[in-house]
Amino acid sequence: MPDATPVISVADVQHLAGLARIALEPAEIEHLAGELNQIVDSVKKVQEVATPDVPATSHPIPLVNVLRADVVGEVLTQQQVLSGAPDAADGRFRVPAILGEEQ
């Protein structure tokens, strides 16, 4: 049955928005927290039918080992690679100064 206490708090939404680099107004955060809790509630219904002997799945199709032979195929030309770039220089993407640190 749906739980009374919300699973997703306002602080959670704030945190996730920060990680996702999305600027949200306080009202939007409230609104999203509410919507996300509804989604969680809906998904919770699965728990009612999923017994412990049903293994966790990350994919709807029961396939494994879909692999590719190590054979060189086609690549894009440098021109094609850069064709969608807002800005390029020296055959490379030109991006604004990065604030923060290297990963």
């Binding site: 945190h15 879909v66 032979a69 054979v71 690679v81 020296d90 490379r92 100064a97």
Partner: protein, 507 residues
């Protein structure tokens, strides 16, 4: 920019008296498969692939273009399993890829495909041989598959670093290169040998991946990259201290120095009552110091989740056993065998290991050189030049060229002195020894008639010397030999010249 040059350091021995260092390593290995991890683009980490033209080895998958779907490279999986087995790990019956989300333009997708809670290999140990021959066991937590990121060049800053840069340029050639990241468990009890163990561990990983033939393993090219975690705790304290993660440690020597530096830096802070900030530190080869990078906090919340575009990898037992049976001997066994085969004493062999040229030496011998000759060159002239320039000997010259050089001296085409000259030119990039000898005309003059002409001329111009030799004072021949060697621009075998001088003087 903070260079760390102002860090207060505690004397190393004093630091060790007061604190216990705990180490941990993350080593990234670029696999040398023909293609990338998830796309059929040529892999720049494979031998002979030219990646000098930026964005020329890029498929839609590597850029994360809409609709492009990754497919796992079967060979990269095999390489990863082999590496896992060589690290003494268990291979997971089911292994899954996950998305690691972060914002940084080195990958076009805004996430890296990696593995999270289901890595391909886990729980192993690596035996590391220290300089005095002691074996040290490093516990391995996991080895997982992932893709490498693109290369950024920061433009406009004074130092080519990110701080103060005006903009950055991105080359995605390296994006998608197959990587295995090897993560150790915390390493306890290293004590004053911590820097040495750090270096030996990374050297062992390098030797293992080389012997497996799964990576070019050139640290200076980024095929093998090490992040070193260091923390200190006061003697007697159970709880681990706060750790720092030093990145950009790209030579064996740097690994050793960086660990030593962090121990001394952290000890000084703790002793003064300060606290260690959990952060990444950047190693600077030039100043031999680390500087603060980003703090570890929110940025480490990567929101991993299973990669929906990929299916689990479930290696069969048959495949695992096939790969286990094909494992080469361990680097330790390999070393013992080589020492016996080559007939080197313990001391001679230790010198080779400490100079880090065993693989180069072995390859030189396999190309036809005598072990003693190979040892002489790698530990002599090549090591001398390497030390002078502060680089690894293996980066200066290829084993093939060294074996060629040795062959040229053995068949008498080059004297030792000429061979050293040729080596310098090979190192300077003038081509193979054969090519240098041809282009520069450096061959020994072995044509007796040319020597005899020069000798006769020298004897004629020094009649007093000729008379002395005739009188049996053979040591006087030195003056003539010197003149002849000079006339031959040093390109003659002095012993042969001496023989001929004595012969001609009596003629």
């Amino acid at each position: 920019m903070a260079t760390g040059a102002t860090d207060v350091l505690m004397d190393f021995d004093e630091a060790l008296e007061r604190f216990e260092p705990v180490l941990g390593f993350e080593v990234h290995v670029e696999l040398s498969t023909a293609t990338k991890m998830f796309s059929p683009a040529p892999n720049p980490a494979a031998p002979g692939v030219d990646s000098s033209v930026p964005n020329s080895l890029v498929a839609p998958v590597d850029m994360g273009l809409p609709g492009a779907l990754p497919v796992v490279n079967a060979e990269a999986v095999r390489y990863s399993i082999s590496l896992g087995l060589a690290l003494g790990c268990s291979i997971a019956p089911t292994s899954r890829f996950a998305r690691k989300n972060y914002f940084y333009p080195d990958l076009g997708k805004n996430y890296q495909i990696s593995q999270y809670d289901e890595p391909i290999a886990f729980e192993g140990t690596v035996e590391v041989e220290l300089e005095d021959g002691t074996l040290w066991t490093v516990p391995i937590e996991r080895a997982h598959m992932e893709e490498d990121a693109g290369k950024l060049t920061h433009v406009g800053g004074a130092t080519g670093r990110i701080q103060g840069a005006d903009h950055s340029l991105v080359d995605y050639n390296r994006a998608g290169v197959p990587l295995v990241e090897i993560v150790t468990k915390p390493i306890f009890g290293a004590e004053h040998r911590a820097p040495e163990i750090a270096k030996a561990y990374v050297a062992t990983i390098r030797d293992i991946v080389r012997s497996l033939g799964i990576s070019e393993a050139r640290m200076e090219r980024g095929n093998l990259r090490c992040d070193a975690n260091v923390s200190l705790r006061p003697r007697g304290q159970e709880r681990l201290g706060t750790r720092t993660e030093t990145k950009n440690v790209n030579s064996l020597r740097s690994v050793e120095r960086a660990v030593r530096y962090e121990i001394q830096r952290q000890a000084a802070i703790l002793a003064a009552g300060g606290t260690i900030v959990q952060e990444t530190r950047h190693w600077h080869e030039d100043t031999g110091s680390t500087s603060a990078g980003r703090p570890k906090s929110d940025a480490d919340d990567y929101r991993y989740f299973p990669e929906p575009d990929l299916l689990p990898v479930e290696p069969s037992l048959a495949l695992i056993e096939e790969l286990r049976a094909a494992l080469p001997e361990s680097p330790a066994a390999f070393r013992r065998r080589l020492q016996a085969d080559y007939g080197f004493t313990d001391g001679e062999f230790r010198d080779i290991l400490n100079a880090g040229v065993l693989a180069e030496l072995e390859e030189t011998v396999s190309k036809g050189a005598a072990p003693a000759q190979a040892r002489k060159w790698w530990l002599g002239e090549i090591l001398r030049i390497a030390n002078q320039r502060g680089v690894e000997p293996g980066t200066l010259v290829s084993p093939l060229h060294v074996s060629e050089l040795i062959a040229l001296t053995e068949n008498g085409d080059l004297t030792d002195r000429l061979a050293r000259q040729v080596l310098e030119l090979v190192v300077a990039g003038e081509g193979s020894p054969e090519e240098v000898v041809q282009a520069r005309g450096l061959k020994v003059v072995s044509d007796d008639s040319a020597l005899i002409a020069a000798i006769d001329e020298a004897l004629a111009s020094q009649p007093d010397v000729l008379q002395k030799i005739k009188d049996g004072k053979v040591q006087a021949a030195g003056a003539v030999i010197g003149a002849v060697m000079k006339a031959m621009r040093g390109q003659a075998d002095a012993a042969r010249v001496r023989e001929l001088v004595l012969e001609r003087a009596q003629a």
